[in-house]
């Protein structure tokens, strides 16, 4: 069953589109990795879904199907309604766990705030639930932890606390914006395992934003590659890592041989050039200037559509490349 269906999402700040016609949908309990370099628009897109951009124009729609069967458009809902959705149906965790907790209040106070907001729990019940949640995210001594201010915790611990707060309202969808990037590699793996086990237990869907393909390969069911604000490839994780169709994806993967998972060895992908700035895009394929397979036509003359190239048992594979068929041979 579809959990979220994003159609033609566009974001601009008064200039060119930063997020340009992004469409995808995901099923309940699915983990989708939104992959791209910095400047690809992946963070802006996720903040737009949350209504946390604060400025800019957002177009398109993002229908979220709630557990009770209702549907809500994350792009269109008003501020009051959104407050009822955030934390309870959609939560988000961020890259820097060090600064994502209020340094003045204790962990307990911050957790109780969320619990009273979304679960109506107060006093002893809130305390008990907070302990339960912290236990669930793998904090060894939850009671002691609740009394601490965030500065006393390590980065990994803080990210666990943030995850506990994010799942307190038992949301259907969790957005995770590079949640492991600021952490040590070993801690990174622990947090990824935690997220996987939470999904297994609660059936919560997840959009996992990362620039790290190794991280994506170890957590995602499906990979969506963003480039210069557009979706350029959307594929089941197995298919994507086995046979990526878009030259950009190939380049990313090719630059990181032996990509397996963060649990094993890895190397960072390197690629010549950089993502074109929003104002410096040509009429053709936006990846063309950096593409080894580029031909003047059609690559520089026509923007390729996002084409579905495989459609087996709901596992759609789509790619945005004018030459994908030639290149697949």
């Amino acid at each position: 069953m579809t959990l979220l269906s994003v159609r033609d999402l566009g974001v601009d700040f008064g200039g060119p589109l930063i997020v340009d016609g992004v469409s995808f949908s995901m099923k309940k309990g699915e983990i989708v990795a939104l992959v791209g370099e910095s400047g690809s628009g992946k963070s802006v897109a996720s903040l737009a879904l949350m209504g946390l951009l604060g400025r800019g124009n957002i177009t398109g729609s993002a229908m979220l199907r709630l557990n009770d069967g209702r549907e809500t458009d994350l792009v269109r809902i008003g501020p009051r309604e959104r407050r009822g959705v955030l934390g309870r149906h959609v939560s988000m965790i961020f890259q820097d766990p060090l600064s994502s907790l209020d340094p003045i209040q204790t962990i307990g106070a911050q957790m109780r705030e969320v619990l009273s907001l979304h679960c109506g729990l107060r006093g002893g019940k809130a305390q008990a639930r907070a302990i339960e949640l912290l236990h669930e995210v793998g904090i060894v001594d939850p009671q002691a932890c609740l009394k601490l201010i965030p500065q006393r915790l390590s980065g990994g611990m803080r990210q666990r606390v943030l995850i506990a707060m994010a799942i307190a309202g038992e949301p259907e969808l969790l957005l995770a914006d590079e949640p492991t990037t600021a952490l040590d590699v070993t801690v990174q793996a622990q947090v990824l395992r935690l997220l996987l086990s939470l999904r297994a237990r609660s059936g919560m869907g997840m959009i996992f934003i990362t620039h790290n393909l190794a991280v994506a390969s170890s957590i995602a069911d499906r990979v969506i590659v963003l480039y210069a604000g557009q979706v350029v490839e959307d594929a089941p994780a197995d298919a994507f890592f086995a046979a990526p169709a878009m030259p950009y994806s190939k380049a990313l993967l090719g630059a990181a041989p032996g990509i397996d998972s963060v649990f094993g060895a890895r190397r960072l992908p390197t690629l010549r050039g950089q993502v074109p700035a929003p104002g410096e895009r040509g009429v053709g394929c936006r990846f063309a200037p950096r593409c080894d397979a580029m031909r003047p036509t059609p690559c520089q003359t026509q923007m390729p559509d996002l084409l579905t190239i495989a459609d087996g048992e709901n596992e759609v594979h789509a790619v945005r490349c004018g030459r994908w068929e030639e290149l697949a041979r």
């Binding site: 955030l86 934390g87 965790i93 961020f94 209020d102 003045i104 707060m165 957005l175």
Partner: protein, 319 residues
């Protein structure tokens, strides 16, 4: 943790003792360097003979070497004997304390006005950063900061007292009936004068601290978890903006004395500021010196107390 704070307090107390020594030396030297010296008040009185003057000088110990006078005076200070007024021979310390009440009353009332005004101005500025109302708030702040206190007082007296008769133009209370409303009516104009010019001091700090907090990641996290905006301001922004104000308040409160002096003069308010000005005018040096020392002690105690309090209250300082 407590040991660290103790060491900090001890070090600060040491520095403060050194500073007070410097201050007392400076003050003592200054007033003994005045034309006529500490005897000026007596030498100007009619029918004074040099013989009688020498007698007075001797009785007050003014014929002793300057350093000895200083040491004796300093010793007295430490024992709580701050000397006696030339005018009425009352002990300096008790004169100061008897004037302190009026100044504290004025200071507290103006503090409430300036703090509430600054809080409103700072929060509006931070929450509407970059918008027209933010620019307006900062403009109003600059103007308030630029108003001469005494002139603002005169304007208030003219428009709110002389022209309309709403408030009394000066004094602590009407002679004869000291009701609470009467005292409040007398307090209104001086407190407003001193309070208004201090609004931007608080406003600017609150604007800056609240603005910094609003830009922090944990505010975004709270929003992402559906915490309502008013709750974010109340539980996160306000505490974060107010805690660092504690040490600033420690520095600011004593500067209130300067404003109080001017305000007390305009409104004939019988506080420490007036006392100081009067004692300078009458060349009553023990009192002038006493007030100077008193205010210096107040400055140092306030800033030390505020820093310790800040340490105790702000979890961000305890990592």
């Amino acid at each position: 943790m407590a040991e660290g704070m103790l060491a900090f307090a001890a070090r600060r107390a040491g520095v403060n003792a050194l500073l007070l020594l410097l201050v007392s030396l400076t003050g003592f030297m200054l007033l003994h360097a005045t034309p006529g010296g500490p005897l000026a008040q007596f030498s100007l009185s009619p029918g004074m003979t040099s013989e009688r003057l020498n007698q007075i000088a001797h009785s007050m110990g003014l014929d002793q070497p300057l350093w000895l006078q200083y040491v004796k005076w300093l010793g007295g200070l430490l024992k709580g004997d701050w000397g006696h007024s030339y005018r009425d021979h009352a002990p300096v310390l008790s004169i100061i304390i008897s004037h302190l009440g009026a100044t504290v009353e004025l200071g507290l009332a103006s503090l409430v006005i300036s703090f509430l005004g600054g809080l409103a101005m700072g929060l509006i500025g931070a929450l509407r950063a970059g918008e027209a109302i933010d620019a307006l708030c900062s403009l109003v702040g600059v103007i308030l900061l630029s108003l001469p206190t005494f002139w603002l007082g005169l304007v208030f007296i003219y428009f709110l007292s002389v022209r309309t008769g709403w408030f009394p133009a000066g004094g602590l209370m009407s002679p004869g009936h000291a009701s609470a409303t009467d005292r409040l009516r007398h307090l209104a104009l001086p407190a407003m004068t001193l309070g208004l010019v201090s609004i931007p001091v608080w406003g600017a700090y609150i604007r800056s601290f609240a603005g910094d907090t609003l830009n922090q990641d944990h505010i975004r996290t709270a929003r992402a978890l559906g915490v309502p905006g008013w709750r974010i301001v109340l539980r996160r922004v306000l505490p974060a903006a107010l805690l660092p104000l504690i040490p600033i308040a420690g520095v600011y409160l004593p500067t209130l004395l300067s404003g109080a002096l001017v305000t007390e003069t305009v409104f004939t308010w019988p506080g420490v500021g007036r006392l100081f000005l009067d004692s300078l005018q009458y060349r009553d040096y023990p009192v002038a010196l006493g007030v100077l020392m008193f205010s210096a002690v107040l400055v140092l105690m306030c800033s030390l107390a505020a820093e310790l309090l800040h340490h105790a209250a702000d979890p961000r300082l305890r990592t």
